[in-house]
């Protein structure tokens, strides 16, 4: 089954990392991904730009309304995601655990089965 591993953490915390700290975390996360990629289990992975660059479209009384930023004000923000093909939840949890072991953001990983995944252009 295909799982999406959704990464939530405090943007304040992550953006306070120095470039060296950020690079170190990304390097370790890449090593975890590498293992799953080699096994042919890893799908698209994304790290999102800050929520300040985000826009939300929401229908209010039937009218589409464009709002600045993410709609919900929460302590943690949605910062990125992985897609990974796992035989069961246990394996998906294991993947998230490995990511979390090397990520000091203090955030969380939501493990969510994927219903539909449209093919993406290989050039991106």
């Amino acid at each position: 089954m295909l799982y999406a591993i959704l990464c939530y953490a405090s943007e304040d915390v992550v953006s306070a990392w120095t470039k060296e700290q950020d690079d170190a975390v990304m390097g370790k996360l890449a090593a975890v991904q590498e293992k799953y990629a080699k096994a042919g289990k890893l799908g698209p992975v994304a790290r999102l730009l800050p929520t300040t660059a985000a826009t939300t479209l929401r229908r209010v009384k039937g009218e589409p309304l464009v709002i600045d930023g993410p709609f919900a004000e929460t302590k943690e923000q949605f910062l990125g995601f992985y897609t990974v093909d796992c035989s069961d939840l246990e394996e998906a949890v294991q993947f998230a655990r490995e990511l979390s072991d090397v990520n000091p953001s203090g955030g969380s990983y939501e493990i969510r089965p994927v219903g539909v995944l449209n093919p993406v252009k290989a050039t991106i």
């Binding site: 953006s15 700290q21 660059a53 930023g69």
Partner: protein, 426 residues
Amino acid sequence: MTDPAWISSALNAARPQAMGALLRYFRNLDTAEEAFQDACLRALKNWPQNGPPRDPAAWLIFVGRNSGIDAVRKLSRQTAMPDEDQISDLEDVEGDIADRLDGAHYRDDILRLLFVCCHPDLPATQQIALALRIVSGLSVKQIARAFLVGESAMEQRITRAKARIANAGVPFETPGPVERSERLAAVAAMLYLVFNEGYSTTTGEAAARAPLCDEAIRLARLLLRLFQTEPEIMGLTALMLLQHARAPARFDADGEIVLLEDQDRTLWSRKMIDEGLALVDKALRHRKPGPYQVQAAIAALHARAARAEDTDWREIELLYGMLERMQPSPVVTLNRAVAVAKVHGPEAALAVVEPLEERLSGYFYFFGLKGGLLMQLGRSEEARTAFDQAIALANTAAEAAHIRQHIDRLTKEADAHRVRHSAVPH
């Protein structure tokens, strides 16, 4: 997360909110700072054992407040017992404190903290130094290095700035909409000062100063998260990102500055450009243009051009015209003249430039541009005079070297001319 380096970055992340709240409680910058320092020391002891709290800022505010109250009591010679018990019980009550913390004040706390640093009595350099110390939490040593001055000189500068603020009085009442937007404008200007201080013109300084650019961008994003619908804050953040994206291409291997049109654009940071462009697009939707948005839109046109010759100079000329009307200044007009030269040629540009001479007689770029335009028009002697004036006003060796290249070219052309003519048999 129990590693000291990571704890210190968590403390930095929580700093603006915690310092902002402590400043509101104590209404004194020194007391707030000492309280925060004390809370940080306790965090360094407590967090590795108990793990980081769920809400580090709330933890620091609670602990800092207690410690600050103690300090104030001791000062006023009243008896006080350290509140160690209360502090060590913290894990149980943490959820509670988070609720009791005044969520509504959060935005205005951080804005106030930034705003006290932009007091009009403070010269720009003191504003920047104070913001880096108080809001960003950089050490005096780090700030001194970025300003290329000695540590004790910087220490004095910060102490003087704090003394001025203490005497000037800080506005603690919750701001109304008009005051809030005035504060935002002052803070935006101060952040842009921090950025420009870091955007240095020599390679030797670039490494030491680059952290100022990163910090200005970080604070601008923080401000934008608090004031999500402010198009000028989007514009400011975008402007800084789009300029900073060019940093890797601004100096060549010899440390010479590379002009925008000669830069290797593949070196530009794609990630910063994407974020900047997204912010420009967001800001423009509001249809409330302002100077930062216009400048960001200009930077965006440069960022969108894959090659220098693809630049949309016509649009840039229009945008500088708009900026000139919003914020009339000879420097803005000079920038418009660059676009005029690209669109309408050197003669039209010279007509824009020449009336500025009196007001820009001490400005390197004025004479650099004037010389360049005269050179294009074949008026070599006048060009040489302008270039000589530019060299006399150059701020850095790189600037002077750049102008000298033009003079060398003029000299070579003149020599070639002479050779051609002397080759003709008499």
